[in-house]
């Protein structure tokens, strides 16, 4: 009897059930806090026609960008996608559908999806291309647009530690979209640096309770850095996005 034990031992098992044309929500900000090996497994499986919901789409040879060369992504919902030549090519050629979504709205769409709230009003995007085709309402004299929640067939999440029950702890800014993605997947798969025994995590310090998590796998990570900035040279301060 497995009970609440969510631990799986192979990546095949971790991504079992992922099929063509599904929606996958991915945690991560840039290359920080991404489920590196779950992404690699999607590439290996060759699943196609995917709708990806993620703040970014990786770089050419790392992160979600590795799913581009074999045309596995049909559509991406993201806030910022500028780091990737193949992405730009596919988008300009009309091979890849892109739904640019403000970062805070994207986070809230995931949060709402996981919390059973179908839609919400936000002032973000009013009067911009983001508002096109969306219901608009005025509250207390201010205009808002209606944004719909997102639920994924799968969510792929990177956490620092998990216990066997799937309780999660994230580390520093690698948390980002991960706890939100975790709530919004019908099947939530979490890749972690360390799995500990039940009871070892302080209940007061758990960021994501195991109820949201279906599978946990321990991985090893490259943790590639996008912008390696070091002090004291202030020159680097200007290299951003």
């Amino acid at each position: 009897m497995a009970g609440f034990d969510k631990v799986v031992h192979s990546y095949e098992e971790a991504m079992a059930g992922l099929t063509d044309n599904m929606t996958v929500i991915a945690g991560g900000f840039g290359l920080c806090g991404i489920a590196e090996n779950l992404i690699a497994e999607i590439k290996r499986k060759g699943t196609k026609g995917l709708t990806l919901v993620s703040n970014n789409c990786g770089v050419d040879d790392f992160g979600l960008g590795v799913l581009l060369p074999n045309r596995q992504i049909k559509k991406i919902v993201a806030s910022y996608v500028g780091e990737n030549a193949e992405f730009e090519r596919q988008m300009m050629a009309g091979e890849l559908e892109v739904e640019l979504t403000p970062q805070g709205t994207l986070a809230e769409k995931m949060r709402a999806g996981g919390a059973g709230i179908p839609a919400f009003f936000t002032a973000t995007g009013v009067g911009t291309p983001v508002a096109e085709g969306k219901e608009e309402r005025t509250f207390n004299g201010r205009d808002y647009i209606l944004e719909e929640a997102i639920v994924g067939d799968f969510a792929i999440v990177k956490a620092w530690k998990a216990d066997r029950y799937g309780n999660l702890v994230f580390r520093k800014t690698a948390r980002n979209f991960n706890p939100l993605a975790a709530t919004a997947g019908k099947i939530t798969v979490v890749e972690v640096e360390e799995i500990v025994e039940v009871g070892e995590l302080d209940p007061d310090q758990i960021h994501t309770p195991g109820i949201y998590v279906n599978r946990v796998i321990q991985g090893s990570f490259e943790k590639r850095i996008e912008q390696r900035t070091i002090r004291p040279s202030n020159k680097h301060a200007e290299k951003g996005e």
Partner: protein, 218 residues
């Protein structure tokens, strides 16, 4: 002389107040952190989920799990906190950030801002900028006043897709510090050595000039 990027940052830093929570955008706004006056405390918010952003790390301190919204490696200041993206934008959208500084391609007399997309050319996305301009009351836009070819970026009406509508009240360019109100630009200060005439020439939208316009002090 037009202000350098560093000087623009220096002038923006004079707008910081003790106890401010501040979000600095990519590019020139990031440089503002280098000019925080010694006698005040501000806390920098980075929308990827960090309040209390510190300086860049030394080689030994580098941590792939600790970056800012520009994906640069950073450190945490004393008293920092980390949180998820929904929490981060609750702070932003909920109006809890005291000052937001960000760049733009264009602004206009109605406080509209275009900063994220040049159709057919640059399509990268708005990141957090739409949430930032919608959520903040106190925003300073930093930008160059005109293109290299002398085409004004302070317009009657933005030509590019908007990032936000009617939300910008202050603009600091390499030539001038400008307030936007009642559908007009109002000249507050000019860059050292830059004449009011030069600024008028490079401002397409209506510019109100009242009395003697002081030079910025840097």
């Amino acid at each position: 002389m037009a202000l350098s990027r560093e000087q623009i940052a220096q002038r923006v830093a004079q707008e910081l107040k003790d106890g401010y929570y501040v979000n600095l955008g990519i590019g020139i706004p990031t440089l503002v952190a280098n000019y925080v006056p010694d006698d005040i405390e501000v806390m920098l918010q980075s929308e990827n989920g960090l309040l209390g952003m510190g300086q860049f790390p030394t080689e030994e301190e580098i941590d792939a799990d600790l970056i800012n919204a520009g994906k640069q490696t950073v450190t945490m200041a004393n008293g920092a906190s980390v949180f998820d993206s929904a929490e981060s934008f609750a702070m932003i959208r909920g109006g809890h950030v005291d000052l937001t500084v960000l760049g733009a391609f264009e602004v206009d007399v109605n406080g509209n801002i275009a900063s994220y997309m040049i159709p057919g050319k640059l399509i990268k996305g708005m990141g957090g900028a739409m949430d930032l301009v919608a959520g903040a009351d106190n925003i300073i836009v930093t930008m160059t006043h005109a293109s290299k070819h002398g085409v004004s970026k302070l317009l009657k009406s933005c030509s590019l897709p908007l990032t936000g509508k009617g939300c910008i009240k202050k603009v600091l360019t390499d030539l001038a510090f400008i307030e936007i109100k009642e559908g007009k630009f109002h000249l507050l200060e000019r860059a050292p050595g830059v004449s009011v005439e030069e600024i008028i020439k490079l401002t397409e939208g209506e510019l109100v000039v009242t009395g003697d316009i002081p030079e910025m002090k840097l």
